[in-house]
């Protein structure tokens, strides 16, 4: 046993990742843990070649075809309409593990330069009926297979790609907000005033895959981090979740991963009774949920440590069915 690195740090870190007890540490190594990184370096598109050292001391660049820089940037408007070939993306959210850590919300807002008031990924505290238990419910855009928002758009500013992702082209949107009434899941948000554009993105060409730079008077929503998918990277919310709640993958590969665990999608849905929210509406979402079974923590954990403004959002949801009328 001669591994002369810092074994404790690495192994204990891996343990933390597995049990997910400590929030934030999973942000290590970009979320795709060091293990997975070492496995996937061949497939991940970093835009840089791997250097090979030959016995005579020469450093050779491998696989120059990877160096197509443009394929790694968020696609411009015309390219963004084409989905990644042969893919159909799907997300599975495990409600039994979610405790309102809100790292997904933070990562999404940071990655897309959203103001705090705009949430593309939103966390609800749902209680379906008086006798059922409340549970935390992360809700991204469902990228429905029968998207009502796309059907009602008068100018075709929002569209569904061949890989299943629904995007909004902020340069075409006229701001009529019909899509916002068409979506039954309240997913879309509107730029009601001139957005504050930080210097680092102001010069970028507009891309519907990131919705940056933001456009006043248009509609925005979760984009399944289409810019990251081009580089074979997981969406930001998936990587940020300390509990491994969100799984993401290609249903044509029958595989979803949360950065740590990789599982067969069909097996996961079968074994854990996956379902889609409000299925009877007929929108056919691409996001599946696993029911909140055997939760390891009380639902009140999700309200601890937050400012009053956040806790007040959920004041209408009774956390206990016992009337404490003293």
């Amino acid at each position: 046993m001669k591994k002369k690195n810092k074994p404790d740090k690495q192994n204990s870190r891996r343990n933390f990742l597995k049990t997910g007890l400590t929030a934030g540490i999973a942000g290590l190594a970009g979320g795709v843990g060091l293990m997975a990184l070492s496995q996937k370096t061949s497939a991940k598109k970093t835009g840089q070649t791997i250097k090979l050292l030959t016995p005579d001391g020469k450093l050779v660049e491998l696989d120059k075809s990877v160096l197509d820089e443009n394929s790694l940037k968020p696609a411009p408007r015309k390219e963004a309409k084409k989905g990644l070939p042969n893919r159909k993306f799907v997300m599975v959210i495990d409600l039994s593990k979610c405790k309102n850590a809100r790292k997904c919300v933070d990562a999404c807002q940071e990655g897309h330069y959203l103001p705090k008031s705009q949430e593309w990924m939103r966390l609800y505290l749902l209680k379906d009926s008086p006798e059922t238990a409340p549970y935390w419910f992360p809700r991204p855009c469902f990228h429905c297979d029968n998207p009502l928002c796309v059907s009602v758009c008068p100018v075709g500013a929002t569209y569904k790609r061949s890989d299943g992702i629904v995007l909004v082209d902020g340069e075409k949107c006229i701001g009529c907000k019909f899509c916002m009434t068409g979506c039954p899941y309240s997913v879309r948000v509107f730029q009601w005033e001139k957005p504050e554009v930080p210097a680092e993105i102001a010069h970028l060409d507009y891309s519907p895959e990131t919705n940056l730079p933001p456009v006043k008077g248009t509609v925005g929503k979760c984009v399944f981090c289409a810019d990251k998918l081009r580089k074979n990277e997981l969406p930001r919310c998936v990587q940020a979740c300390p509990m491994g709640v969100i799984y993401f993958g290609d249903i044509n590969e029958d595989t979803v991963t949360n950065g740590e665990e990789t599982v067969q999608f069909s097996e996961l849905i079968k074994n854990k009774a996956g379902y889609r929210h409000l299925e009877t509406l007929g929108t056919r979402p691409s996001v599946y949920y696993l029911p909140p079974v055997n939760r390891g923590f009380p639902v009140e954990r999700g309200l601890e440590g937050y400012e009053k403004e956040l806790v007040d959002r959920y004041k209408d949801v009774p956390l206990s069915n016992i009337n404490n009328n003293d």
Partner: protein, 290 residues
């Protein structure tokens, strides 16, 4: 009174200067990075040395790009330089050693690698070392009694007497973001047999890349061997597609909608045009009369 005032001012001066000293100390914070070092033996017998440079700042973890990481191996205690690689946008620096690159082993049969980061004004220097024995694996895939079976044979290149036993190995299928585990096993006397029982979607011909991998073993590091075979389900049997025909939500409308609209518009505007023609005729009639 004067004395008290002087003492007061001296105390204030000391207080203020101490504050400055604190401030300077804060300004001179140097981040302590970590540089994980791992090694992977690939199926083409090349060896990857992988490092990831990162440090913790207030907002979270930072992965600096374009910093130089130098790789060495140790030969009887002496550092022999391999190469210097710049980190990419996620902080990783990877050096691949060619298959026929010979790294001398020490008495116990371990190859010792060293990765060093020199540091700069804001980031401290750091280095990591790793020691692994070389291992050669080969994968045999066959269908025995209509069960897809993978047999992996491993031979230690460090010493012929080392038998490979009680080492865990996993069988994976390469996917878009990560590798899907499908089976696992334990080496016994240098060989292990695993059954591939899952139904995994493949490409048009049903091809999938099957990887047998020992993950971060204490002695051998990570070793993998892979093969592309047609043990997957061909795409035409499983692929879900977003329909490209005319739907409510496609760019082009269903045909019946277009036809209905045209009929209605022609019907209505036809009457309008008729009325306008009547008006024109009225005007002409009036002109002729006068």
């Amino acid at each position: 009174m004067k004395n008290y005032l002087i003492i007061f001012f001296i105390i204030v001066a000391i207080f203020l200067s101490r504050n400055n000293v604190f401030a300077q100390e804060e300004e001179a914070t140097v981040f302590e990075p970590s540089l994980g070092l791992n090694t992977i033996k690939r199926t083409d017998q090349t060896r990857d040395l992988i490092t990831k440079l990162m440090y913790r700042a207030d907002k979270g973890f930072v992965y600096p790009e374009n910093h130089k990481v130098s790789f060495y191996y140790l030969d009887e205690g002496n550092e022999k330089f391999l190469a210097t690689i710049k980190t990419t946008n996620d902080g990783s620096a990877i050096l691949k050693l060619a298959a026929n690159y010979v790294i001398p082993a020490d008495e116990e049969g371990f190859m010792n690698f060293l990765a060093r980061y020199e540091g700069n004004d804001t980031i401290a220097a750091t280095e990591e070392q790793i020691a692994v024995k070389d291992l050669k694996m080969e994968m045999i895939t066959e269908i025995i009694d209509s069960v897809k079976t993978v047999t992996v044979n491993a031979v230690s290149l460090a010493s012929a007497t080392d038998t490979i036993k009680e080492i865990e190995i996993g069988l994976f299928v390469e996917r878009m973001f990560s590798d899907l585990p499908v089976a696992d096993g334990m080496f016994d006397a240098g060989t292990v047999t695993m059954e591939f029982l899952k139904r995994i979607p493949g490409d048009k011909k049903g091809n999938i890349k099957v990887i047998a991998r020992i993950t971060e073993n204490e002695i051998y590091g990570t070793v993998e061997v892979e093969k592309v075979l047609d043990w997957g389900i061909p795409s035409h049997l499983h692929i879900r597609e977003v329909p490209q025909t005319r739907q409510l939500w496609t760019p082009i409308a269903p045909l019946w909608m277009i036809i209905t609209l045209i009929i209605m518009l022609v019907g209505v505007w036809g009457h309008y045009i008729f009325s306008v023609i009547q008006l024109v005729r009225i005007s002409k009639d009036g002109k002729n009369k006068s």
